[in-house]
Symmetry: C2
Subunit: 327 residues, 2 copies
DNA sequence: ATGAAAGCGCTAACAG
DNA sequence: CTGTTAGCGCTTTCAT
C-alpha cells in the first residue's frame, strides 16, 4: 500500500506538505512543489487512507440508516432519497434492516457507534428503543415513526391522523356506508394516529365505529389479503381505508378473487403512494406522502445537526389525497 | 469520549490487557482482572473505536454495494439478500446508487477504496468500468451483469439467453404467432443475451425475426408502456416477451388501456420475478431468478475471496419459468 | 499473568 | 514556503 509518507519521499518534501496539497490547504505552497506532488500522486495511483484520516479528524463522513426493510418500496424510496442527499454532501450511507425488531435496532445502533458514523437516521419501531437512543451519543433523526425523547433529536413526521381522516371522509363522500379499516397492530404513534383518523371521520359523519370492521396485523400485502377475507366473514363492506398501499394492494387482490368489483362494489384507498401504486389495477387512490423528499430531508436535517449544531428539530410534511381508480 | 486508556487506568492495568480481554484473547488473563475490566467497561458504557481498530488491523468489516438503484425492486432484493448475509458474518454494507452511469460507478469505487472497505459487490453497467475495476486493488464480485476481466474477480450470473428462450418458446407453445420483445437497449452482455434467447426461440420454431416487433429502451415500467404503444402502431401482436418484470407491468397497463385482454388477446411474460409480480393483475408469468439468493451469494463469494483467498470464482444460478396468469 | 512500546496513516500546531 | 512533531485509539510483539 502506498502512503503519504512514500509520496513525501518521492517528492522530497515532508508528509505535512503532501497533506496540505492533498487537502487544498495549499495557499502557502509553491506552485512548483504543488504540481510535483500532484504528479507523483497521480503517477503512483495514490489513494488516501480515509480510515487514518477519520481517526485523526474524528469524522467519518458516513451516516447510518436503520429501516425495517429495504425490500419494502416505501423504505427503498426513503433510502434512495437519503442516499442522493448524502452523496451530494459528500457522505456515504450504511444500510441496516431491522425487521421492526428491537434486538436488531439495538445491535445496529451499537455497531454504528463503533463504526463512528457521524449520525444515524432511523425508523424506530419499539418504544423501548427510546432508551437505547437516549444512551446513544451521536446525532439521530427519526423518520416515519415518532418517539418522545428527552434528548434533543431530529424528527420528521407526517400528519397521519389527518391522512386517514381525509381518506375515510373521501370514501364517505363517495357514498360508502360500510367502511372497513385494515392496518398494522404495531403499538406505536403512527398506527394509533392512522386508526384514530379513520374513527374520527366515521364519528364526525354520524357513522358508528364497529370493531368488526377493523382488522389489524402488519403493513404488508398479506395483511390486506387476509384482512379482506376475515372482514368479509363478519359482514358487508363497500369501502376500505388501508393503513398503507401494500395492504391496499393485497386487499384489492382478495376482493377480485371474491368477485367483488373495485371500485364499483368496494372502494379502496391506500396510504403512502409508493411508486408502484400507480401501476396496479385499478391504479390506487391513496394518501400521498412525499417519501423521497422525506429521505432527502432526513439527511439534510441530520447534517444541520452535525455541522451546524442544531438540535431538537421537528419537521412535519403534508399528506395529500391523490385520486386514481380504486375509489 | 472514553477510550481503552481510560478503562486501563480505572482497572489499574495496561491498555494491552484491556485490549486482550475485549477481544477474547484472554487465555492468560486471570479471571479476577478479566471480570474487573469487564465490569468497568460496562459501568462506563465504553464503546470501542472501530476506526482506530481498523487502522491497526487493516480490516473495516464493511462491504461496498454498487447497484443502479435501490428503488428498483430487483436491486432492493439483491441489497436485502446481501445485507442479511453480511450481517450474519459481522459485516456492514455501504450502499451506492449508480443510476447505470459510469461516472458514478467510478466515483463510488474510488470513495469505497478510500473508506478501505474490505471488498465491493457491484452491478457494472458500462464496459469502460472494466478498466476502473482492473485498477482497483480490492476484491470485487460482479452481480447481475457480467464483464470480461483479466484480473481475477468473482462473478455471479444467470443464464439469460436460456431464460428468454424458455419464455418465448412458452409463448409459442401457447399458440402466439406475433411475439414482440421489449427490453433495454443498454449495450451489455445481459441485454444481448436476453435478445438473443428471444430470436433463437423464434428461429428454432420457424418464425421470422422482425425488427418491427422489437422495442428497446430501459428496464423500467415506462418502457413497457411506451413499447406497447409504439409496437401496436407497427402491427398486430399476440404475445410479448419482456426483458424484465417492470417492463411487463408497464406493457400490461398499456394493453389494458387499449382494451386488449391479457392473457386472452395478448400474452405477456416477464423476467426476474420481483416480489410484486405475483400481486399485479393478472399475476405475472415470468422467468424467475433467485434474486434474494443472488444477493446472499454475492457476499458469501466476496467473503470467501477476502477471507479464504479464493479468486476467479464464477457461479451461474438457474432461472425457472413460473406460470401465473399473464400468459 | 501483565505491561512497555512501537506503529497503523494521517493531520495540524508550531517552528523556522 | 516547508518541516518537525505529537498524537488520534487501538493491537501486538516481546519482555518480564
Amino acid at each position: 500500500m502506498i502512503t503519504i509518507k512514500k509520496i513525501a519521499e518521492l517528492a522530497n518534501v515532508s508528509t505535512a506538505t503532501v497533506s496540505k496539497v492533498l487537502n487544498g490547504k495549499d495557499q502557502y505552497i509553491s506552485e512548483e512543489t504543488r504540481k510535483r506532488i500532484l504528479d507523483i500522486v497521480e503517477k503512483e495511483g495514490y489513494i488516501p487512507n480515509g480510515i487514518a484520516k477519520s481517526l485523526k479528524i474524528k469524522k467519518t463522513k458516513t451516516i447510518g440508516l436503520i429501516i425495517p426493510d429495504v425490500m419494502n418500496p416505501f423504505f427503498a424510496e426513503i433510502a434512495r432519497g437519503a442516499e442522493d442527499a448524502a452523496e451530494e454532501k459528500g457522505y456515504t450511507i450504511v444500510i441496516c434492516n431491522s425487521d421492526n425488531r428491537f434486538s436488531k435496532e439495538e445491535k445496529y445502533l451499537s455497531i454504528l457507534q463503533e463504526k463512528m458514523v457521524d449520525g444515524v437516521i432511523m425508523t424506530a419501531t419499539e418504544s423501548n428503543t427510546s432508551q437505547t437512543i437516549e444512551r446513544c451519543n451521536i446525532p439521530i433523526v427519526l423518520v416515519d415513526r415518532d418517539l418522545q425523547m428527552d434528548k434533543p433529536i431530529g424528527r420528521i413526521t407526517v400528519n397521519n391522523e389527518e391522512g386517514t381522516f381525509m381518506a375515510t371522509s373521501y370514501l364517505i363522500g363517495k357514498g360508502c356506508k360500510n367502511i372497513c379499516f385494515i392496518s398494522s397492530k404495531i403499538v406505536n404513534k403512527l398506527s394509533k394516529e392512522r386508526l384514530q383518523g379513520y374513527k374520527k371521520a366515521l364519528e364526525e359523519n354520524g357513522f358508528p365505529v364497529d370493531e368488526n370492521k377493523i382488522y389489524l396485523e402488519s403493513f404488508n400485502v398479506e395483511t390486506g389479503y387476509k384482512g379482506v377475507n376475515e372482514l368479509l366473514k363478519k359482514g358487508h363492506m363497500d369501502g376500505i381505508c388501508c393503513g398503507n398501499d401494500l395492504i391496499a394492494i393485497g386487499a384489492i387482490r382478495a376482493l377480485k378473487e371474491k368477485g367483488l368489483k373495485v371500485p364499483d362494489e368496494v372502494k379502496v384507498i391506500g396510504f403512502d403512494d409508493i411508486s408502484i401504486s400507480k401501476y396496479v389495477e385499478p391504479p390506487l387512490t391513496t394518501i400521498r406522502q412525499p417519501i423521497y423528499e422525506i429521505g432527502r430531508e432526513s439527511v439534510n436535517m441530520l447534517l444541520s445537526i452535525i455541522e451546524k449544531g442544531k438540535t431538537k428539530m421537528h419537521k412535519v410534511l403534508t399528506v395529500t389525497l391523490v385520486e386514481r381508480g380504486s375509489s
